[in-house]
Symmetry: C2
Subunit: 279 residues, 2 copies
Amino acid sequence: MTTVEIFEVGPRDGLQNEKAEIATSDKIALVDLLSTAGFKRIEVASFVSPKWVPQMADSAQVLEGIMRAPGVSYAALTPNMRGLEGAIAAQADEVAVFASASEGFSKANVNATITESLARFAPIMDAAPMPVRGYVSCVAECPYDGATDPADVAKVVAELVAMGCYEVSLGDTIGRATPEQIDAMLKAVTDVCPAEKLAGHFHDTSGRALLNIDVALSHGVRVFDAAVGGLGGCPYAPGAAGNVATEAVLAHVERTGYATGLNADIIARAGQMALALRG
Amino acid sequence: MTTVEIFEVGPRDGLQNEKAEIATSDKIALVDLLSTAGFKRIEVASFVSPKWVPQMADSAQVLEGIMRAPGVSYAALTPNMRGLEGAIAAQADEVAVFASASEGFSKANVNATITESLARFAPIMDAAPMPVRGYVSCVAECPYDGATDPADVAKVVAELVAMGCYEVSLGDTIGRATPEQIDAMLKAVTDVCPAEKLAGHFHDTSGRALLNIDVALSHGVRVFDAAVGGLGGCPYAPGAAGNVATEAVLAHVERTGYATGLNADIIARAGQMALALRG
């Protein structure tokens, strides 16, 4: 296989950590530009409580305001049934649930054990009329528990797939994973789930995102989440890099022989727009 | 050889692009902390015109105020004789001159051709009572001229060494170099200068700094410039990463089998301090 897909997550995972309030119209303009770049999937919204993530309070308006390009799936995060209802009403094309591979992060992020959080997703999986993607956080390192056992990641991945997730995105949430950790983690995960159902979600906080992508490519992973302009930051290292930049992933995988079907010029413009939004 | 030296450039190359004015006392505190981390060389000052780089206007005060750790060389940039006089008066342990490998950047940065800029350094080399390091900008890509011919880099390196520079630092000034470009450039440069006299100065704007460091390591380069906290930004891509973070280089080279003699905990604290200064 010589194709790599980049799942653009800038408008959601990228923007959600930005402190300055970003106008709904600016978010829509960013998504509309990204829609012309060749992405098949763009994450644009999160139906979480505005108390937790005020930046995403206008998710319904964003989904309503964007121009929907044919063949592009517009995705929304849905932590619970209420979120799913919002995503359905706003006509999200796909939704995503998120679990942690580490108990410490699960407790801190969703105030539940891993098992409890997975149980919350069961009704979402049953009710969702659209495809559901799964995210797993802290697949290598957790800010609370330290190194994550690859077996713990495999277990959560297997459960998400068994529940019906069409794909599971493996997140190095704090950007501290080493290539060796990603290798060990993917060895365990691909034992329970084919690489075709996996995505890599790497943050560049330690500058190793592209190294980790190379390891994931060697395991057969062909989908990578990235945020245009490297939007996002890392809540655990203020000022440090967060999501790996779409521009960086695009240049890297094309340089090493994969096709992406993406327009680098449009993405560069979107990156400038994203950085301007960040202020 | 299994040792890699990181030349800490955060207090100079890192801070100089920061727009907010940073108090002299904060700069001194950052250098003093860095002085306890095991670095052999720290770039702390730049005796350029304050009109060009207002952030560096207090270079003499910084050099006067820091506690000088035994065995640490405190470096200053000196573009001309007046800068050298300032560096001598402030007792900089070493100084640096900077040339470009591309005519476009040379014209824009120092308003001179490459040949003219090298001629300006001759009296500095003659007069400097301390070691002089050379910087070469745009060793792979230039914001004005595009790709740089490796032969052009080799020519400037050879001239700087012939003029007496004890080491030449090869800068991917705009952070767009690919590993293939660095490989081709170092093939040409090591034909005219032994790797022991070279340093790599990579920016992480495209996320490829560690990939480029690996290529440089394969050519025998064992000195890398880096800025704590990834300070610096890129003047050609506002908001994008600039200098590769010292923390990232340290973790990467130690993980791949090199000793640095650096204290990662102190450097992490310095990184936090640097990010706080950036505001």
